[in-house]
Amino acid sequence: MSDKIILIDTNILFNILNRFRNRESLSKYELSKIIKTDKLFKNNVGRIKIPDVVINEFYANFFNTMNILGSRKKFLKENDYRVWMNLQYSAWSQIVAFVMTNKVGSVKFDSFKFYGYNLFALATSITEYEIPKKLIDELSTISAKDDYANVKSGKLFDGMDSIILSYIFIYSLENSGKKVEFVTGDNYFKLGGNYFIKNKLPVMKNFKYPTNLKIRGL
């Protein structure tokens, strides 16, 4: 198992984006994430891949949620949108350039074989499963500073997370000859996902967890 594939989470794409923001406007925490992201890409040229499901989550956040500037009563005009979208595109192009320079590949869902597993049914089962007390205790001990959003909103695998988790499970099963690492900036996702893998929680009948997958933080 010499080859290693590194898949990245959506928050890593946002870290890349922050590289191009004015450094003075960034907090120390954000700066440290940028440095760690740079290091990840520098040390793993040719190994990193972005899943299409992650691209989708990024697009949904970045191109489809438009902050309304100025007056709250302002109507949305076509011109406002064009200007805003051009700004978003120019920021996105910086990510694309960064990704290409670091020889990052992509993973396509339509190349999956699945072995009879249904991605969405697996995601449904994961989110339906009662979280074990031990995991709840572990999640509660994570520094509130690091995962403020999770603590405040009480989230674990919300939104796309359960789909992303199922996606990387199935991807790892299909690449069982290789070591797969999923890198995320979300400590709750890391802790929760690894707990499911390590304890082989019986979320779905006959589901076999991959043995070659590790979820790690930056």
């Binding site: 299409d52 499901v53 691209i55 989708n56 697009y59 949904a60 956040n61 191109f63 489809n64 949620t65 438009m66 902050n67 309304i68 709250r72 009563k73 302002k74 109507f75 949305l76 005009k77 076509e78 949108y81 064009r82 979208m85 595109y89 396509k108 869902f109 339509d110 999956f112 699945f114 249904n118 991605l119 969405f120 049914a121 995601a123 449904t124 989110t127 339906e128 009662e130 979280i131 007390k133 709840i136 999640l139 509660s140 603590v151 909103s153 009480g154 989230k155 674990l156 695998f157 919300d158 939104g159 796309m160 997370d161 359960s162 789909i163």
Partner: protein, 201 residues
């Protein structure tokens, strides 16, 4: 031509959080045997119910309460003969993220949509929001799922029931104008799909 109605997770959220109106009750009763619940929408609903606003300090009690409300929802769906369907992993269905990515990156078409609807897109559509949302969160995947379902069931009239006026308008705009999908040369829009609101029934 029989009719299949796919309900958005926000509609189910109303049932779960006990916000359902008489109109919604009437809708479910009136459309018995026609309503389907795809696995993707169920998975979105689950993450909203069981993985948001978790009370980590009293998780057991919190989970039991949610679970009992969820069972009520399942009971409501079952007495109204709502069928849960699982994704058929044929080659067409596997394009789901390709289509979703094409939809969520389609700036020129959204721009045209805004141009045609300027003035109608008043801020009061989003009374308490500070953002305009298009295909955010899982909307593009949900829409792709519905498109693919309609293509695989050409003999049925498929209705996607959504909660937000803007989403109905935007999705119908895409369908009616048969918007060209960037990067998907062979993509064909279904002729049997309509997006509706509860008030349209």
């Amino acid at each position: 031509m029989d009719m299949k109605i796919i309900i958005d997770s926000s509609i189910l959220g109303d049932v779960f959080f006990n916000k359902k109106s008489k109109k919604l009750d009437y809708f479910f009763k009136n459309n018995r045997n026609n309503i389907i619940l795809p696995d993707f929408i169920l998975s979105e609903l689950h993450s909203n119910i069981f993985h948001k606003k978790i009370d980590f300090d009293n998780y057991n009690q919190w989970f039991k309460l949610r679970w009992s409300a969820y069972e009520k929802l399942l009971f409501f769906l079952s007495i109204n003969n709502v069928e849960i369907i699982y994704m058929d992993l044929n080659s067409e269905m596997l394009k789901i993220f390709n289509i979703a990515n094409a939809i969520s990156s389609m700036d020129k078409k959204i721009s045209l949509f805004i141009k045609e609807n300027e003035g109608k897109l008043k801020y009061n559509y989003f009374k308490n929001a500070s953002v305009f949302k298009f295909f955010n969160y899982t909307s593009s995947i949900m829409f792709s799922y519905v498109i693919l379902y309609s293509l695989s069931n050409p003999d049925s009239e498929v209705v996607f029931l959504v909660r937000h006026h803007i989403l109905k308008k935007l999705e119908n705009y895409f369908i009616e104008n048969k918007i060209k999908m960037v990067g998907l040369d062979n993509f064909i829009w279904p002729d049997n799909l309509k997006v509706k609101l509860l008030s349209d029934f």
